[in-house]
Symmetry: C2
Subunit: 216 residues, 2 copies
Amino acid sequence: MKVLIVGANGQIGKHLVSFIQNHDDLEARAMIRNQEQAFFFENLGAETVVVDLEQDIEPIAKAAEGVDAIVFTAGSGGHTGKDKTIMVDLDGAVKTIEAAKQAGVKRFIMISSFDTRREAIQAAPPSFAPYVAAKHYADEWLKSTELDYTIIHPGALTNEKGTGQVEVAFEVGRNEIPREDVASVIVACLENEKTISKEFQVVTGTKGIKDAIDSL
Amino acid sequence: MKVLIVGANGQIGKHLVSFIQNHDDLEARAMIRNQEQAFFFENLGAETVVVDLEQDIEPIAKAAEGVDAIVFTAGSGGHTGKDKTIMVDLDGAVKTIEAAKQAGVKRFIMISSFDTRREAIQAAPPSFAPYVAAKHYADEWLKSTELDYTIIHPGALTNEKGTGQVEVAFEVGRNEIPREDVASVIVACLENEKTISKEFQVVTGTKGIKDAIDSL
């Protein structure tokens, strides 16, 4: 299975490409913003394709040609200017979804925010609410399509080493999760069709990742 | 016909409430952000209701109870912080649309931006693109509903006195239009069911507003 990773140069993206390249049944194509970012991925033997997410749908669709799945893990992270929030977290995601349709790629895995429900927008502090709103509308857009989607809502991201142990459910208690474990969760979703048309929150817990994902 | 005007205290909104109150068949309920804005509307004999568009759907739905139509003319205008762009121009609009559904109000008139198509997002200068994107997604959300919508895309807004003469079509040449004429166009749409399920651009032109709207 060949997988296009949008936002490959992010921290989750780098773990993910690395896991995919070390996996017998998976192959990564890393979508990166500029050629200088290619070295890391070429070292892993992964394909790279240079597309800025602020470009139109067509170059993204071209980057998606011939892959079996797309993982969207690009993000402004909520700490950049609010213009990037709407242009990357919302519009970049929607363009990638539309590109998937154009390229005939059915499988789409979205890395969302922990809680993107309407209530979460209202409950968020004013500085964070625009990011939650952007992710909310991106998730809504994806759910309205015919794509084989999975929406992953990770807890507070850390750079700790992965534990391989998680708790997953439609709703779990707010907690942390290492980015490395989020990458493992994505791989588990790619391997498990039971995750299609599902969305779930995930934090560090006590269950092995494959089993936890299979129990969804 | 009773009409809830969301964003009544804006410049288009004030013209609109004034026109509606001077119209035999129409009655306005002005939705405003705080009580200090009420004086202008009370002087016109219009009802007022105080709701901040950053609140949840429920208070907006309550404000919409018993009206026959909603006009959304609130807006950050593209000159406020980009957080307001997503929270007001997109999320405020979507909450108002959802409030219309909850309150059972079928008729919905959206004051959009001149061009909110995908191509316009890509073509806009970086500082303006987030505003275009926010309006794009609000318009898309409205079009996906079962509401009796009309989407008005006015040209560059001015504070000149209205001329009563416009050009309307799905696509017209870029030009200016006084806010007072936009308010007259809204009234003409409220009075003309042929505008349901339509969207059009409007700028200053050579046709009387009623006739122009009727020719759509």
